[in-house]
Symmetry: C2
Subunit: 469 residues, 2 copies
């Protein structure tokens, strides 16, 4: 179909430089894990909310669909175009202004294309904390974080991206602008539109700006590593830590032995301060009184855990540098996995009370079905969120294992997750990757409601079609 009139109208509105056609557009058209590679009619880069609305109106008038994109760091193929060459890729990266910081109200209003790191830095410069924190923070955008309801390492204390947002500005499928940049902690004036757009992966509207919650920065953050003989002990340690430290507990990360073995193998320079154990936990306290207070609390907690037989060993970081090196161990796991080769990934959540039983059951089932497979299990136990990845047996071609076994492994894992009331997507979203899985497994009434909402807010199917739903 001839879309020259649309492209010319877009050029007239945005300027030639911001309507990219041809050349190497792979930075926009391919997801960073290189699982999905589409082709866009054009990449458009509006510079303001008004320009986003204009693009939406023009696209609607020409019957062309739009794929919104932030930093293109998603893990489920939700932000890249399909292969038709008919879709507009709308990059939000030029909407990158910090609009307002209100220290007394503890809020920050930013445009969608701001990098997460920029948001964090802006808060920190005012002595405040924006607590969303994840591996891609240097390149992901806050708009993408909200569209996918990102999680990360401090959810236990501060919640997901959803809980950190007070208001949104959104361009609707009608090309209107929802003026919802509220900095209010309480507002019961109508339906919760904000939370409907958050996590909708660009299928209901285009988030152009957000008002975010800030917190006073903690005076100290102190990290420890502890060894557990079983996952049940890890869960018991979590309960103890929550009772002792309550909101002070800002991270509780779990790593199985295989995870740290891969780190040792591929990153030998990272010192592992504890002997190998079936499970290792990284705890972090964020303290408003100071490091001495945090240390006293953390040491008392670990003493009690040792006395109760909940942990077998522990080490508390002596310095910020040591703290960071403990975090590096945790952060190195996905990288070590990549070094080891492709694997079958699951980003699942479960009730915390079901986690140990799930892992025990799965270890047995998967070992029986795929002898020699290696379980790389790590993640945010405090949120019930496990990254539960299956690596090919030693010596087996990883790519072939992924290609041939993924569907069957997924079936076993997701069947168990669903039977236990868990979710097949804890923090990465649905996108293209899990769209069919969602359609097959989600409560049918929920699917009916979701489809009705999609149709109500985007009757033309303009926004990110065939993603999520």
């Amino acid at each position: 179909m001839n879309q020259l009139p649309l492209l010319n109208a877009l050029r007239a509105r945005l300027g030639e430089a911001h309507v990219l056609v041809g050349g190497d557009l792979s930075a926009y058209e391919r997801d960073w894990r290189k699982r999905y590679h589409g082709r866009a009619l054009a990449v458009v880069r509006p510079g303001s909310t008004a320009e986003v609305a204009e693009v939406v109106r023009l696209a609607a008038a020409h019957g062309v669909s739009i794929v919104p994109q932030g930093g293109n760091t998603g893990l489920v193929g939700g932000g890249v175009p399909d292969e038709s060459g008919d879709q507009l890729l709308l990059s939000l990266l030029r909407l990158n202004r910090v609009r307002a910081l209100d220290a007394a109200n503890l809020t920050l209003t930013v445009e969608a294309g701001c990098l997460l790191q920029t948001v964090q830095d802006h808060a920190a410069a005012a002595g405040l904390l924006f607590p969303l924190s994840l591996a891609s923070e240097g390149s992901c955008t806050i708009g993408g974080n909200l569209a996918s309801n990102a999680g990360g390492t401090q959810v236990l204390r501060y919640g997901n991206a959803r809980e950190l947002c007070l208001g949104l500005e959104v361009v609707t499928a009608g090309g209107d602008v929802l003026q919802g940049l509220s900095g209010l902690r309480k507002d019961n004036s109508g339906y919760d539109l904000r939370d409907l757009f958050i996590g909708s992966e660009g299928t209901l509207g285009i988030i152009t700006a957000a008002t975010l919650k800030l917190y006073p920065a903690p005076r100290a953050q102190l990290t420890a590593l502890a060894s557990c003989d079983s996952l049940a002990q890890g869960v018991a340690l979590l309960g103890l830590a929550q009772r002792v430290a309550q909101a002070g507990l800002s991270a509780f990360e779990l790593m199985n032995q295989q995870s740290l073995a891969l780190v040792a193998q591929h990153f030998a320079q990272l010192r592992q301060p504890l002997p190998a154990a079936p499970w290792t936990v990284l705890l972090e306290l964020s303290d408003h009184e100071g490091e001495d207070h945090a240390r006293g609390l953390l040491e008392a907690l670990l003493q009690q855990a040792l006395g109760d037989g909940v942990i077998s060993d522990a080490v508390v970081a002596e310095s910020l540098a040591q703290s960071q090196s403990l975090w590096h161990l945790r952060e190195a796991i996905p990288l070590a996995q990549s070094e080891e080769g492709l694997n079958i990934k699951h980003d699942i959540s479960l009730p915390v009370s079901a986690a140990a039983g799930f892992v025990a059951q799965m270890s047995e089932r998967l070992a029986a079905g795929w002898p020699g497979m290696r379980l790389v299990c790590f993640g945010h136990l405090g949120d019930g969120n496990l990254h539960f990845n299956v690596q090919a047996p030693m010596g087996v071609d990883a790519a072939a294992f992924l290609r041939e076994q993924e569907a069957a492994v997924n079936r076993v894992v997701y069947d168990a997750v669903c039977a236990l009331g868990g979710s097949i997507s804890a923090e990465h979203g649905i996108g293209q990757l899990k769209r069919e899985e969602l359609a097959a497994r989600k409560d049918t009434t929920a699917l009916t409601l979701m489809r009705a909402i999609k149709k109500a807010l985007d009757p033309q199917g303009l926004f990110n079609p065939n993603r999520l739903l």
Copy 2:
């Protein structure tokens, strides 16, 4: 219209005893503040989710609309039928089972008709805390709390009802049951239907059960009262308290001089430990270490505030009994207001940074327009939520003042609230009371989206018509 076939079908399904027609139904048909008095076709009291779904299907088949009701403690007329005599009043009070407590997962699953107090008690019996707390907790239901996204006194630390709910079971307008009773802290598998139903005031679906978040109970709660010369100082004290105590700060309640003067006048037996001041603040710390630790922190905070000139006087409760008597002062304000007579009430929220300017501006405007009027201003400053009530001048008939001046006073107040980015309903909702105000003042794009969602989820207009929207 002859609805005998519907009534007979309901009786056959629910039993005669649970389809009430005639007799004194005022407990269901009239709101507790006696502002709204409707008449129902019948009051139906289903005993299970399946029975609720059956009622919905029967009502839909007969073209009869449904008004869901919990404890009938709402403040905006959202839970009583209209005067037509054509609506079914669906009481959730018989759905009052506690379904499951999962201590390791810190969740409690309850049916919608459970009293809030019952939910709190159930958590407490397991050594845990369900933090939602409000004046009507002995008679309101958790279903109503969620339908109206209730706030209360601990929002600063724990959030509104919305933030305390992980999953919902809902009967849809199609008579289906949404199985969404998730106990997950992270779940990115599709649109956030939960938050759409929360706060929708029974207009989108009928909440029949919920999975709620619990917290470890704090070891100590310690309360203090402090005097401020200006509201700007109150805001400064809030900032200081948030920096010093962070999540430990569980309440920050504001009372102006007039509020406490009415309490002194009508409840002379309640001792007021500080001399009258322009503004009084009630602070509460919830501490996981113990009372000594809390006292140290609170005293250091108040010392610093005195040194900084942010407060002029303060007293820390010496015992739990003293703590409670400080709370009684705060809780007595609405009661003292009732004793004084009817008044023009506003449940507003503002960015905290705008609160002092708003009150200064309004004091002047209202005093000029209504000489002698008395401002009774109190509420949850930590959430930017003020109950900003205008009492008739001394000696003026309160009922006449309300009747004749309410519209004009509302206009002045709401104009200023909206100009400052505030909300005309912070925690009480819209219902009948503020429906026209919402239609006139809400962002038009938001209204368009809300109407589209209502039509998509309830195309027949079955649920609570002419409420909220």
